[in-house]
């Protein structure tokens, strides 16, 4: 929605928004907790409230919205095939295209969860949908695996709905979610957080009887003798998000193994000129404000492309991940004369205290920024003024 609104604002005549769900907003309508929009609006809104602001804006424009419409294929030359019940197969020839398919949750299979496969194993997003949108509770006693923000939010949500939350188990030695969520969602509700722990076995042939949890050693293997059986009828998986790039991959867009999203430049343009990406399909952001911001960046890129302001033969400078940087977006920058402002989004690999983030190229240091503490769950965003040529590297150094 942010990208569509921005494109409209920049004077693009025909903007079409294709949405597979029955309402706009993606996952936001089921996020009825607050904490959305702090950066962009200076107030703490619910996810549904935040989405509604955009929906209201869209309604004021002549942006064409297609709901319950699934894109089946991105064909060559920026042609889209989609379908819905009223229009049948829809073929759209785009001048430029912005992909904003979001992300999906990792599943039991992907984390190699072992034991039986009874009913009662659910991703946090599914539990959230059942409770917040549909109005049903999928269990009475829950264990949560994964301390990412969704897991923490759901711990509180389930506690409020009267589900006994037996604990949150996290594989890593540090929490996966934002500190504010640890405090507001776990500590305030006396829900224990067990770091360096995992679920090793699911019990129950037909319906869930419980799980076995165990402590993990430094290399991630269960420590013998630490296994504990916990009775529960619901195992909530909050074990990470993956950008949903099947359409992009099938269209031949180059993907980054680190972000699982397309390789992007500073306009959020992919390896196919004229195709841009916005939001969690490009990289999993942790703040909705960043997501909306990426939409505006992509829309501005698309506008430039439509106006012929992006040259055909592009030369790129790579943006590399240096010491302790897990990934960085954008992954490359168009080579140009003069200066330009670019915001880099990145995550560190490990939690550290008192560090300096350095951005440089072979010729000069572009930026250095001090942090009291950095942790992988909290994305770093830094604005840099880029000039010159050569590859750019971002890295974290000890000391400040």
């Amino acid at each position: 929605m942010a990208a569509a609104l921005e494109a409209k604002k920049q004077g693009i005549q025909r903007v079409v928004l294709l949405e597979r769900d029955f309402e706009l907003g993606g996952i936001l309508p089921q996020c009825i907790h607050d904490g959305f929009g702090l950066l962009s609006y200076g107030e703490s809104m619910t996810g549904s409230g935040y989405a509604q602001k955009y929906i209201d804006e869209i309604k004021k424009t002549d942006i064409e919205v297609f709901l319950e419409t699934m894109v089946l294929e991105i064909a060559d030359d920026k042609k889209i095939y989609a379908c819905n019940s009223t229009n049948g197969i829809i073929e759209i020839q785009c001048g430029a295209m912005i992909l904003a398919m979001g992300c999906r949750e990792r599943t039991a299979g992907q984390i190699l969860l072992h034991g039986y496969r009874p009913q009662g194993i659910m991703t946090a997003g599914s539990v959230q949908r059942y409770i917040n949108i549909e109005g049903y509770l999928p269990g009475k006693k829950a264990v949560i695996l994964g301390s990412g923000d969704i897991g923490l939010i759901m711990a509180r949500r389930m506690a409020l709905e009267g589900i006994e939350v037996k604990g949150v188990y996290e594989v890593m030695p540090y929490p996966g979610g934002l500190t504010r969520n640890i405090v507001q969602c776990l500590q305030d509700y006396d829900i224990p957080l067990h770091l360096s722990h995992t679920v090793t076995r699911v019990h129950g042939k037909h319906s869930m009887e419980g799980v076995t949890v165990a402590e993990l050693d430094g290399s991630g293997n269960p420590v013998g003798g630490t296994e504990k059986f916990i009775q529960c009828d619901l195992l909530v998986l909050a074990v990470g998000l993956i950008p949903e790039n099947e359409l992009s991959a099938n269209a031949g867009i180059e993907l980054d193994q680190k972000t699982k999203g397309p390789v992007l430049d500073e306009d959020y343009m992919t390896s196919i000129p004229g195709i841009f990406v916005a939001g969690n399909v490009s990289v999993v952001f942790d703040l909705v404000d960043y997501v909306s911001e990426s939409g505006r960046i992509a829309a501005n890129g698309a506008v430039k492309y439509l106006r012929g302001e992006i040259p055909g033969d592009l030369k790129y400078r790579n943006v590399n991940c240096g010491n302790d940087i897990g990934f960085v977006v954008p992954q490359r920058i168009k080579y140009c004369e003069g200066e330009k402002n670019v915001t880099f989004f990145m995550r560190v690999r490990e939690p550290r205290k008192k560090v300096t983030l350095i951005c440089d190229d072979p010729e000069h240091e572009i930026l250095n920024k001090h942090y009291q503490a950095v942790v992988p769950p909290e994305m770093l965003a830094c604005k840099a003024r880029i000039s010159g040529m050569g590859d750019i590297t971002l890295r974290v150094e000890e000391g400040s």
């Binding site: 597979r20 319950e68 699934m70 089946l72 095939y81 379908c83 819905n84 019940s85 009223t86 229009n87 049948g88 197969i89 073929e91 999906r104 949750e105 599943t107 039991a108 299979g109 992907q110 190699l112 072992h114 034991g115 039986y116 496969r117 009874p118 009913q119 991703t123 997003g125 599914s126 949908r129 059942y130 409770i131 549909e134 109005g135 049903y136 509770l137 999928p138 269990g139 009475k140 709905e161 076995r201 042939k205 037909h206 319906s207 009828d233 099947e246 991959a249």
Partner: protein, 588 residues
Amino acid sequence: MIKIVNTFLSDHYPDLKITAKMDAFNRNIVTLSGECKSWQQVVDIGHSVAKIDGIKNVVNDLIVEGMEIPHKDYSPYVLQGEKLGVMDEADVVIIGLGITGCAIARTLSKYDLKIVAIDMGEDVATGASKANNGGIHHAGGVKPGTLKAKLSVRGNRMYDDWAKELNFEFNRCGDLLFIENEEYKDGLYEEYKVALENGDYQPELVSGDRALEIEPKLAEYGIKPKLALWLPSQGRVHTYEVAVALIENAASNGVKVVFDCTVCQIYTENGDVTGVLTNKGLIKTKYIINAAGVYADEISEMAGDRCFTIHPRKGTIAIMDKNKPPMYEHLTGHFMPAEVQKRNSESKGGGMEFTPSRNILIGPSATEVPDKEDVETTSEELDFVMRINENSKVSKADIIRIFAGARPADYSEDFVIGMSPVAHGFINAGAIQSPGVGASPAVAEMVGNILLEDAENKGFKINKDENYNPLRAKKVKFANLSREEQDQLIAERPEYGHIICRCETITEGEILDAIHSPVVPTSIDAIKRRTRAGMGRCQGGFCQPRVLEILARELGLDWIAVNLHGNGSNILKTDNRQQQQNEAGDQV
């Protein structure tokens, strides 16, 4: 015979006190009892006694010191069933609706017979038939002279007609086994000879060059085969899809299907079967066909005929994301003798395969377990399975689901098919494990012939059903249609324009087709097996609530009554809004 068995036991297991008894019907079936040190030992002794020349099978009552072997308790079902009284009357009751039971149901539906087909699960194919890799095997790996070999070869050839009539996906991919050096040459020759002896369809020993012609992709990976065995008969299916197709066709031809129906007693009078007691009541019948998978030995025991023992052999399979395409078009791999690969020679498979939907499957393993319902996966089993991965582009990171099933193996390691000499009218179709999927058309044919022959001898006249229709209409698979076809379809029925499962592109129309079918699926997993909704990389994360909603709406159920897989597996426990409204009402 008993002397030979006792000598064998005292020679090989002098430390154990094992008693052997021969069966009363001179079938050379031995019953073993006594105490062993481990479950593996129980299984090993059973196998080795069954291998003694002249012994037909083993009923294994051996127990393990200090180990409780789980047994199903039928008494609550008996109480319930007796209370309910007569539930139905039939000519034939088929117990167990895995691929074997479904095949038998469809085969017998050609005749003017009243058939009731029952299963303890909530759907067809809820046991081993949903947890195998769907191979329609060539005959290079089965022991010549066995029933398995005979029926596997015949069943394999019958699949073409089945696929045509029943409209399921069948891919005759062929199996290319190659060697790059001389080491396993003898083994390859041996497998070729076995295939020939079994009468497999056109097995061929081919040169390295010819192997490259058959599977040009070998060259891409820099593989230079020296010699290869080409077995064009190998095929692949989705076993659960075949089972659904069979039972739908059977039901259209008049077979009555009852789920959640557990057999707990079998009644006989003067040596003839008269009825089957289930938790839903008594079904009076002339014939009983036992296709109960891992429970087939217990069902046979209920009929008074203990003639084999099922020892479940667990197989774990990892299924990979479709974005990692299979390396080859044919089933292709290095040839290695079973013992080198450390796989079980009695169960085929155990390699890299892929489904007709082009998901790579790795596995299954083969582990003897005491519990028939042990389908737990473990990291050890998964590691074992991943060891046979030959695709360097595939790793554990690509797994979308790990599952396990229990093969119903007996100690003769052959199929047990035949009319019981103890309970007349009781026909076993037991111990049907690998290559049981491929053999199933021939198993059904054999069981059908046994029944027809017996009826003729008894003067019970069975006519062909004049209205029998062997055809099952092709189901819409939206994702496989051209854009024009899709557009036309949506214009006719708008439900096909509503995508429910994003990963596999499954429409509401396809889910409605599955629900409004001759055998109504009632669980989320039953919908998954029929439509693939929820089988993709998100594993139902997005579509499960939508499928649940459609099921509840179409079947007139409350949301909380919808199960994942059978009774007691309801996904939602509390209707929260209703409860809150009630509480608010109480306060007023």
